[in-house]
């Protein structure tokens, strides 16, 4: 029991950067744009947040600027894929490379530097006083709670508001949305930018909270797992929560199994093997339930002459 609780306790922070990233990508893809640049945006968030926290000591400022760094890179993808209508796969890939490169150059001076600033855990009143469960499940840093709060909020906006309706319609049928007076280009720019902001926060969580240090390439594929999680989540914020913590659990398992004498290199394969399995399972489920990606995903929109 204690083991399960402590594993759960560890899985939630491990899954939090994935949750931020996935929530953003869900919105981006709902607008009909595929953003494969998440890995690059996350790592730009990581280096920006570490740099700002290291020099100013202000972690909230660090998170804010990391979000902007991710958002800025996302705007580049938006310009390429929405305005210039270039291939979204290649554009996203290029942006990931760019993010990995620029973050490496920016971060060189921070390698091996300690970070004094950080978040203190927030006790949820009453709940954190429950014996055993309380300290295990209700004492996290504020960003964990922020991510959890975003889940129902983004679900509500997506399915219950006019904004969400516009977003979904642009991703399903941009021509219809356009005819109904929705500004397709503006909605898509907004969704891609928002996705970049959250990816930046996810990256910041890694370098400032989860493992406070700057290591070149420290996202180590997290951005790609986010893309897979978005498919697993069937483009639904609620399922994103489940998927992110599940993967957080796999990451934790990877370290918990090491003392058993299994090679760390073999254990390091776990999240990636698991990703492939999850994608296959999601594909099967999507076929059965006839749920698919947003119909206009990866399709640039050009208004027909009238």
């Amino acid at each position: 029991m204690q083991f399960i609780l402590s594993a759960l306790r560890a899985a939630i922070p491990a899954g939090t950067p994935l949750l931020f990233g996935t929530l953003g990508e869900v919105y981006t893809e709902r607008s009909g744009v595929l953003n494969l640049g998440i890995e690059g945006m996350m790592i730009m968030g990581s280096v920006t947040a570490f740099g700002v926290a290291h020099t100013t000591g202000n972690v909230w400022l660090a998170i804010l600027l990391a979000a902007l760094a991710g958002g800025l890179l996302a705007l580049l993808h938006a310009f390429a894929s929405i305005t210039l209508k270039v291939n979204q796969v290649v554009s996203g890939l290029a942006i990931t490379m760019l993010g990995l490169g620029v973050s490496g150059m920016m971060g060189k001076r921070y390698i091996g530097q300690p970070l004094d600033a950080g978040f203190t855990a927030v006790d949820i009143p009453l709940l954190s006083d429950i014996p055993i469960f309380g300290p295990l499940l209700f004492q996290f840093d504020p960003l964990v709670y922020l991510a959890i709060l975003l889940v129902p909020l983004l679900w509500f906006v997506l399915y219950r508001t006019r904004w969400g309706l516009s977003l979904r319609s642009v991703g399903e049928s941009p021509a219809t949305a356009d005819a109904l007076g929705v500004n397709v280009v503006a909605v898509r720019y907004g969704a891609v930018f928002f996705g970049g902001l959250l990816a930046g926060v996810g990256g910041a969580y890694l370098s400032v909270v989860y493992a406070p240090a700057w290591i070149e390439g420290m996202t180590a594929g997290a951005g790609w797992i986010v893309i897979a999680l978005t498919i697993f989540a069937m483009w639904d914020p609620l399922r994103a929560l489940l998927g992110a913590y599940l993967f957080g659990g796999v990451r934790v398992l990877q370290y918990r199994l090491q003392p058993l004498g299994i090679s760390p290199n073999l254990l390091a394969m776990l999240p990636f093997i698991f990703t492939i399995l999850v994608l296959v399972a999601s594909a099967g489920e999507a076929m059965r339930r006839r749920i698919g990606a947003p119909a206009a995903l990866m399709q640039p929109y050009t208004r027909e002459e009238r």
Partner: protein, 362 residues
């Protein structure tokens, strides 16, 4: 509707030939300018950096020989990617296919140290090809059977391959005489590729690469199969209607694409290192750089021979500025990412023209 931003892209009726040729060159120049701006912003003198890169890659006979050395894996992998991308199969996992090819060849070389060169060398290339091909068809099968997105699966397989190599060189394959380094034992003389005089150019692999480029080019332009690949990529349902098998085309494309990346891996272990090492020691991301090789060549396999030389030079020059300017290894990704973005944009400017929309229109 108020255009946001007020740019409109429209298709050209015909693409002038000169523009097809000149567009990648202009994109490259613009990319270099953009990289210069990034360097300047990070406090590095771009002119000095470019001078160092050029001198490092092309300024001496040693530098140029190293450029050729690095172009070999880029060429083989890049040729394979032109095929995959023509079929619109986004094989992002060539890096993993390369590593598996290197691993398979190493296994053979270590298992049979007594075999003569005429036997072991061709077998190493064959088993490397098979290994890369098998690694490459996993995402193709998943895509054809369950419509699983190949970008993610092929990339996840890179991480798995890389961890597998690490496991082998730190574990069961670690050479007892390698002083604790994560290397396997050295190959027998017979399993080492010959090199051109004082250089590290393992010319058999280079020749294989050039021959394959020509063969694939002919296959693409002179056979029905080349046509099928294109139709499958552009319109899968039309291809199916015309009686082409989606699965068969994808499998064939990925056997070749993965197999060629595997050959590149064989060249690295048999021609450069004579052993398997940790993954970053075998390949500084050749499989990813090859994406740019293919794209810059506009998916033409013979063009890929030329662009691999260019990107090989960039890798050598990148190493040079890392040392002289104290830059991190990731610097090369700034080049890769920016060039890819601009090439993508350049393609577009060749096919479309852009006009600024005034508010009164539309």
């Amino acid at each position: 509707m108020n255009g946001f931003p007020a740019l409109e892209v429209e298709k050209r009726r015909t693409v002038p030939r000169w523009l097809q040729f000149i567009a990648p060159i202009i994109s490259l120049v613009l990319a270099l300018v953009a990289i210069g701006i990034i360097f300047q912003a990070l406090g590095i003198d771009p002119l000095f950096a470019y001078e160092e890169i050029f001198n490092g890659a092309f300024g001496s006979s040693y530098g140029f020989s190293e450029t050729v050395v690095k172009s070999i894996p880029l060429m083989l992998t890049g040729i394979g990617l032109t095929l995959a991308f023509r079929a619109r199969f986004w094989n992002i996992g060539a890096e993993g296919q390369l590593l598996i090819g290197a691993t398979c060849a190493t296994g053979l070389a270590l298992a049979f140290p007594d075999w003569p060169r005429w036997l072991i060398m061709p077998l190493m290339f064959i088993i490397g090809f098979i290994g890369g091909a098998l690694w490459g068809i996993i995402p193709a099968l998943l895509k054809a059977r369950w419509r699983v997105d190949e970008v993610i699966t092929s990339l996840m397989l890179v991480y798995i391959a890389s961890n597998l190599v690490n496991y082998l060189v730190y574990g069961p394959w670690k050479g007892p005489e390698e002083m604790g380094f994560p290397y396997t034992s050295k190959f027998s003389e017979a399993a080492q590729l010959p090199r051109l005089s004082w250089t590290r150019i393992h010319y058999p692999t280079l020749i294989i690469g050039i021959v394959i480029a020509v063969v694939i080019y002919l296959l693409l332009t002179r056979t029905k199969w080349g046509y099928e690949i294109r139709v499958t990529g552009e319109n899968p349902s039309a291809a199916r209607y015309a009686g082409m098998s989606y699965l068969k085309t994808l499998l064939l494309v990925m056997i070749i694409s993965g197999g060629l990346a595997g050959l590149a891996g064989v060249g690295e272990v048999a021609g450069i290192h004579f052993r398997l090492r940790y993954p970053e020691g075998i390949s500084p991301g050749y499989g990813f750089t090859a994406i740019i090789v293919a794209w810059l060549a506009r998916l033409n396999p013979i063009g890929a021979v030329l662009t691999s030389l260019l990107l090989g030079g960039l890798l050598v020059g990148g190493d040079a500025i890392q040392i002289s300017l104290g830059l991190p290894g990731a610097t090369i990704f700034v080049f890769n990412g920016t060039i890819l973005l601009f090439v993508l944009g350049g393609d577009l400017f060749a096919r479309y023209r852009i006009r600024v929309k005034s508010k009164t229109e539309g």
